[in-house]
Symmetry: C2
Subunit: 344 residues, 2 copies
């Protein structure tokens, strides 16, 4: 690994690194319709399109087996991939699962992990069609690739947001992050006391958001029924700020998001208060909510209102207006993505 010059990965960050590695890749295959840069790649098979997305989960980075049960981990690992396919307005159909496993795992542990993967597959109607299983020197590695399908005209990319479009989010934001903070706090508090059990009474919702997230299949179905075709869409895995900035940059537009419109769960707000955290910051930067953010034409407003669990949080502006958060008193702040700092 001797190199002439050495640039630390932290100097570029995740997106800078990916850009540097992939910037001049030119697709050659006629079936490649969309490559790097969205929630999933798109392949052309005649009138149908297939979608492909992949996620790598590493022990110690993405999960901590001290508090994540293996069954939940399997469920979440599958669901986060389904979420990427829904975020393209597609339907997940197949997954392949690769596992790197060390000797400390027993067959029963892997059965628990697989039972979670299979539960997710059953619930979302997805087939587990293959994979690779191998030994690992260190922790548990889970790599899942999901295949999906969609009609050409249904696919929604990140780059279609237009001036005056409405910005919508689903569910509520920040709760998964607070669930993680809670688990971490208890882990540290109970360290060295193996017989103690943490008391999570009244916090079940926050834990569920962190440990057993769901992908918003129901929203995709609602949009379809209502005849709404979003102009841009993503799933919210890194926090609202980061995802909205992706949509604005790729669409070449600005935006305004209203702080008081961001949907917050009551238990999450209480927990943030207790932990002395700003709940809006948790919603903007927390991540792992796996809700959807989409933009749609203002002419869809009437169709949007009856939808369950969909909230209008702002609108798209000219690019010159920048990307801003409008506070409760009308003050404007520039949106910032704290997002992914793992290499820092």
């Amino acid at each position: 690994m001797s190199t002439m010059s050495r640039t630390e990965i932290s100097a570029l960050g995740e997106f800078g690194l990916i850009h540097r590695l992939t910037k001049d890749i030119q697709p050659q295959q006629p079936s490649t319709e969309k490559g790097i840069g969205d929630d999933a790649a798109v392949m052309n098979h005649g009138d149908k399109r297939s979608l492909v997305t992949t996620d790598l989960l590493l022990e110690g980075i993405h999960f901590n087996l001290e508090y994540v049960p293996l069954k939940h981990l399997g469920y979440k690992a599958a669901v986060v991939n389904f979420s990427d396919i829904y975020a393209m307005n597609g339907k997940p159909t197949q997954i392949v699962v690769s596992l790197g496993i060390s000797k400390r795992f027993a067959v029963e542990d892997l059965e628990a992990l697989y039972s979670g993967i299979r539960l997710a597959c059953e619930k979302y109607g997805v087939d587990l069609v293959g994979g690779d299983t191998c030994a690992s020197m260190t922790g548990l590695t889970i790599s899942i690739t999901c295949i999906g399908e969609a009609k050409k005209e249904d696919i929604v990319y990140r780059n279609g947001a237009k001036e005056n479009d409405l910005i919508c989010v689903t569910g509520n934001l920040g709760a998964a992050y607070l669930g993680l903070q809670l688990l971490e706090r208890e882990r540290i508090a109970l360290r060295g006391n193996e017989n103690a059990t943490p008391n999570f009474e009244g916090k079940e919702y926050l834990l569920e958001r962190q440990l057993k997230p769901e992908a918003r299949k129901d929203i995709i179905e609602q949009l379809h029924k209502a005849g709404i075709h979003p102009t841009a869409m993503m799933d919210i895995s890194d926090g609202l700020s980061s995802e909205l900035m992706h949509i604005c940059r790729q669409s070449g537009v600005g935006c305004a998001v209203y702080e008081d419109k961001i949907p917050i769960n009551y238990e999450a707000a209480v927990q943030a208060e207790e932990m002395n955290l700003n709940i809006v910051t948790c919603a903007l930067n927390g991540g792992e909510d796996y809700e959807l953010i989409f933009t749609c034409s203002i002419s869809d407003y009437e169709k949007l209102i009856p939808l369950d669990d969909v909230y209008i949080v702002g609108h798209i502006l000219k690019p010159e207006a920048g990307m801003k958060l409008v506070g409760r008193n009308g003050e404007e702040l520039a949106l910032k993505a704290q997002g992914w700092q793992a290499f820092a």
Copy 2:
């Protein structure tokens, strides 16, 4: 990870483990044509089929960065996936690449890795369409999923071998394993002597087979031109014995392989002699050759003879005959797969 009973993974082995985890999975999606159990899964998109395969490579298990240059590693990681698609008689078209990387890697290291992946993509006409890049606590993790395409009638599975079919292999076998032994020997010999350079003069071919394998796209093209449709096919990643046993078990047949017909490279034979290894054992159990093994009807014999780099090594028998290796003096031995012992 407390479980009521604990079964060690080594008690089941790789295939036993996969069987236990996946045995009662029933596909639900109409587009799933073939799930777990072949080189790739098959999805139905009207008259076209798409194929999907995945490989997980972990530092310390699948590669050792002390002697594997990152560019070669990237090249090989891509090519081994292409090989699985060719083994279905398909054409690889897209890959997604996930990397788990620790801080000891610089941007330049990842550029080297990617340059190898991209070189492989250019050579085989495959598009890199997505992936996931994240931090790792420990070593380098590479997960690649490859998508391919084929016409329905062209796809070759493992389970179609029939009594009297010819068994063919391509290229030569055992050289990749000897290349690995050579690299390991030199690594140990030079340990603690950082300025010494190993002398690999005259061994270049063996190193290339280990460090820069190729997928047999050319063979698939030759078979197509010759109008030969194999009855069963696999790529040889775990050694001839293991792969042939998969074909026989899945096809419900027996086989005879003739020791003196197995194609061996001269340099490999010399190296085996020098290392006091049996070259036929290397060919049968060595692995990582990424050649193809296929069976075809005896009526294709005339078409088979003119093909370049294809060798008939035996034939398919009734299931009662078992799976046997016929030695140079006519003695018969039962085929054994030493294969994958990583959990032992």
